[in-house]
Amino acid sequence: MKLIIAAIKPFKLEEVREALTAIGVRGMMVTEIKGFGSQSGHTEIYRGAEYAVNFVPKVRLEIVVSDGLADQVVSTIQKTAKTDKIGDGKIFVLDVQHAVRVRTGETDDDAL
């Protein structure tokens, strides 16, 4: 199995979720994060004092899928989340050794 971690723009979340559901992804974990990258943040000014806000709000997805589905998930996210503007995000793929469904105790591919 693979763990696919993706940082995307927040307003793309719903679209990506739908696209993934369409190709058979049945679950994911979503976290609101602050992203740092080439997309620059902005400056906030409080009573004349400037604060550089280097972080940009992003959404981070974690999806565990069977090896077979992984490539398709990556390309689906890449296509759906893309806006061609800087800051669209990244996708990373890691190896997962083991998976368990808490409710049933099913393991690995059955757990997904």
Binding site: E44, I45, Y46, R47, G48, A49, Y51, A52
Partner: protein, 418 residues
């Protein structure tokens, strides 16, 4: 009770806040036969001098009493929740609750102190610098004693006067804490507040606001305060409240030293929403503070209300314009900071200025305060966390100087009115 140096004998005071004697039903009859003519008839004969407490009882208008009670509720609302939220939104999340707690407790402690000794020290005769303890625990104040207003033969229940002044004594120390927010410990702060009230607020309130009242001026001609004689005008407490608190804040923040991480980590406001709620309620409550300071409800009260409204609006707009010019866009924090600067500046002037004068005062105060919070603070590197000095003290000084100008009748001001 705008100014007064407190050179007043105890006798005068007994006459003025004619304590102790309850006005029981028919007991007031004799006095009533004299005082009982409608107000205009008294005008014809001139106001009654040195009225007795029975006469005062007939000189109370329930519309005034209501106004004073409403104003008092508004000023309490300025402290909790308004000031607490205004300040609270500006600190970091981790300091929010402690800041709210500080304001809430300061109000409570100062309320107790006011009843115990504060009212007496501020509003009884004593030395020119501070009153005595004859009204400690409000001894002699009752439902049948009255406080003078600025009009001849117009009185309000003394309890209402006690309450109104109490709200001022509660909010002023709370203003200070913005200067050393995010680094002061709870109990030391409470001790500071107790000490500062005793050593600074009560004496200054006594020196600036204590006088005999208009009906006692003729027979007690020396009952005119030093500052009054010098022509100082302070309608609703620019000096006593704002400059006083602003200086205390500056001194405090210098003594305590800057926050850990000051100028190293960013310390942006954690919730401008809370700050905006606070600023809005400060604006609403300030009507009680300023227009309530007229102690009755008439055309001058309405003028003070209007001036408060218009100066605040003008200062809001002018702060935003400064930001537009300097940074290319206005900010919510700028708008609300401007509003508070405007409120502070109009405080001493609100009953004297014309609406046009108030407008100008509001437009002027924001750029000046802006320079202090952005440039001067950076230059001198003191850590006035929430700009108590830059907004309250500087705004108060602008207001104090401005008052002398905008009160001028040739500029549409009221001059020196009672």
């Amino acid at each position: 009770m705008r100014v007064g140096q407190g050179e007043i004998t105890d006798m005068t005071m007994n006459a003025k806040f004619a304590g102790n004697v309850k006005v029981a039903g028919l007991a007031a009859l004799g006095a009533s036969l004299v005082a009982g003519l409608p107000a205009w008839a008294q005008d014809a004969a001139g106001p009654i001098q040195n009225p007795t407490v029975e006469q005062m009882a007939t000189m109370v208008d329930k519309g005034d009493t209501t106004w004073m009670l409403v104003s008092s509720a508004l000023v309490l609302m300025m402290a909790i929740p308004a000031l607490a939220l205004f300040y609270g939104g500006l600190v970091r999340t981790k300091n929010m609750l402690s800041l709210l707690m500080q304001v809430f407790m300061i109000v409570s402690i100062c309320a107790i102190m006011w009843v115990a000794v504060g009212y007496s020290l501020a509003f009884t005769a004593g030395s020119p610098y501070i009153g005595g303890l004859s009204k400690a625990m409000l001894a002699g104040v009752g439902t049948g004693t009255y406080g003078a207003t600025f009009s001849n033969n117009v009185y309000i229940p003394e309890y209402a006067f006690v309450i109104f002044q109490m709200t001022f004594a509660c909010i002023t120390p709370a203003l200070i804490i913005g200067a050393f927010a995010e680094r002061i410990k709870f109990w030391p702060l409470m001790l500071f507040v107790i000490g500062w009230s005793l050593l600074s607020y009560y004496p200054i309130a006594h020196m600036v606001w204590f006088w005999a009242g208009p009906d006692f001026l003729v027979d007690f001609p020396t009952d005119m305060g030093l500052l009054w004689g010098m022509g100082a005008l302070d309608f609703a407490g620019g000096t006593v409240v704002h400059i006083n608190a602003g200086i205390a804040g500056l001194v405090g923040c210098l003594v305590i030293g800057p926050r850990v991480g000051f100028n190293k980590e960013p310390m942006p406001p954690h919730s401008l929403t809370m700050t905006m709620i606070g600023a809005s309620l400060l604006w609403v409550g300030w009507f009680g503070f300023n227009a309530g300071s007229n102690l009755e409800s008439n055309g001058i009260t309405a003028l003070a209300f209007l001036n408060t409204f218009i100066a605040t609006a003008a200062a809001t707009v002018s702060w935003c314009l400064v930001e537009q010019l300097r940074h290319g866009r206005p900010s919510l924090l700028g708008a609300v900071t401007g509003a508070v600067a405007g409120l502070v500046a109009i405080t001493p002037a609100c009953g004297f200025a014309s609406p046009g004068g108030a407008l100008v005062l509001g437009l002027i105060v924001s750029p000046i305060c802006y320079i202090f919070v952005s440039t001067v603070k950076k230059m001198f590197k003191y850590d006035d966390s929430l700009d108590v000095f830059g907004v309250h003290c500087i705004g108060g000084i602008v207001g104090a100087i401005g008052t002398g100008i905008v009160a001028d009748p040739s500029l549409g001001g009221q001059g020196w009115v009672d």
